[in-house]
Amino acid sequence: MRQTKGERNYHIFYNVTNGMPPAEQAKFHLHRWDYFDYLNTTGCHIVDGVSEEHEFTGFRVRLCTCTRSLSRTETHTKMPLPGLPPPL
């Protein structure tokens, strides 16, 4: 199963292959997008008006703002859902 022509794979793949600084890419054995067969078959890797560097930096910043991390046991239990708001 593959993407159709002109369709991208998940955005994060292009963020890390095209947007991550090369020095950091070496740490994760990453290369440019055309090295990977999951990305180079459809011929599409650019979204007009979107900078992968900008997207990648934004993603990193958003990850850093997540201060609370779930413990291993918590992730296996049911996700807490917000109930209805209490009466005013």
Partner: protein, 193 residues
């Protein structure tokens, strides 16, 4: 999130990409065809060998990509190689290891990559929810997504259900808020047309 966790996220994303580069080729193709030119006996030998290796499925694949995946995921390279080329079948009595052919091995590798990505995605959603939820809040903004009610000509039941849901939702809201406005006529919309 700590640097370690963020590194872990990118390691999995990278290993998914590298799994896509793992392709399997049956070993021995070239050797067999070279032997075939030598004569009848060797042709017979080659054919029998060909049958045999199809059963045994000696597969070759880019060792480098697999080594990278093992490194990024913290797996034992040898066990990962074995795992990509074989599958376990559970029978009544025992568990059997069955070697796969090239196509099956590629499918299994893709499935592994997909599973790794899906697990990472679910984990990320859980982390985000844990960070956005607050123990004390007076109100929240949620997204209510009900599928199906847009096909009005065909699906009366869905419309009915959606309207009912909306009705109850609003009633609850206004009752709870006790805002002093009689809103009961807001909901007197005929149902089932």
């Amino acid at each position: 999130m700590s640097e370690d966790i963020i590194d872990g996220i990118f390691s999995i994303v990278s290993s998914v990409l590298h799994l896509g580069n793992v392709h399997f080729v049956p070993d021995g193709d070239k050797a067999n065809y070279r032997d075939a030119r030598a004569g009848m006996y060797s042709l017979l030998f080659t054919l029998s060998f060909h049958l045999l290796y199809n059963v045994l499925t000696m597969l070759v694949f880019p060792e480098e990509s697999v080594a990278i995946v093992a490194d990024l995921m913290g797996l034992d390279p040898e066990r990962l190689k074995w795992g990509l080329k074989n599958k376990k079948i559970k029978t009544m009595r025992e568990v059997i290891d069955k070697p796969l052919n090239a196509e099956q091995a590629k499918d299994q590798t893709d499935a592994f990559a997909k599973h790794a990505y899906a697990t990472l995605f679910d984990w990320t959603v859980q982390q985000l929810n844990a960070n956005m939820i607050s123990e004390t809040f007076k109100s929240f903004i949620g997204v209510l997504d009900i599928f199906g009610f847009e096909v009005f000509e065909v699906c009366h039941r869905h419309r009915h259900r959606h309207r009912h849901c909306r009705h109850r939702h609003h009633r609850h809201h206004y009752d709870e808020c006790n805002c002093g406005i009689d809103t009961s006529h807001f909901f007197d919309i005929p149902i089932g047309q």
